[in-house]
Symmetry: C2
Subunit: 108 residues, 2 copies
DNA sequence: CTAACGTGCAACCAAATGGTTGTACAAATG
DNA sequence: CATTTGTACAACCATTTGGTTGCACGTTAG
């Protein structure tokens, strides 16, 4: 569980901060599919979807695998879990602070 | 647990997609503090930090409370948990797909 | 009262984002 | 072979983002 760099966390959350990209992630979790198959589902150009997939790829949320002339997009849930781990740190900080407050109250 | 709108999820993840804002969240979880106290910690203008706090506020990750001339920034962990819940949906989809594959294999 | 402090906000700027169209090329199809 | 399909990539554009400075205004301290 090597720590993520700030850049990697930036890329992760930025990739998740777009509804089209979140939808793409959901779709490829459900069933891996080509970029063009994905593009058919959205009211935007193929190139736009291609860019979204590229953003997801740089965030490691998806990977691409070539199959003939198609590029198959697959989900990588490890990145989702890394994002969750970042949020869990906040939860930990929260509990730590709560514990400190309790300690202070008990002491006083 | 009313469902979040796409806009709200967008705002949540976008707010988290910046290291300064993530650091601000961590700091105010540890101890609530004024905007100017926060601003002292960063190599940028007060106005810049003010804007970051504003982004976090619109994402409900923090709240501001006035104390005299100061504006005290406090963490709202509920938003962190909402973000986690979004990620959990992906995990659920993943398990659902895995279960489907298992069922297919068992059937065959 | 005067000065300093903390904030709010507007104007401005460079860079990134999310979209477009057009071109090029490799792979599959007829 | 010629055509269609799927992809890659560049150029371009409008909007958003992340920063700046400057100014106004209420609040606290001397």
């Amino acid at each position: 569980m090597d720590a993520l760099t700030d850049d990697e966390v930036d890329a992760l959350f930025r990739a998740l901060a777009d509804r089209t990209r979140r939808d793409i992630v959901a779709r490829v979790i459900d069933a891996e599919q080509s970029v063009s198959a994905l593009a058919e589902r959205y009211a935007m150009s193929f190139a736009a979807v291609q860019k979204h997939v590229s953003v997801l790829e740089r965030a490691s949320l998806v990977a691409k695998r070539r199959r003939g002339r198609e590029q198959i997009v697959t989900a990588d849930l490890a990145a989702v879990r890394r994002a969750r781990a970042v949020l869990d740190v906040y939860e930990q900080l929260w509990r730590h602070r709560a514990a400190q407050i309790d300690a202070l109250l008990a002491e006083g």
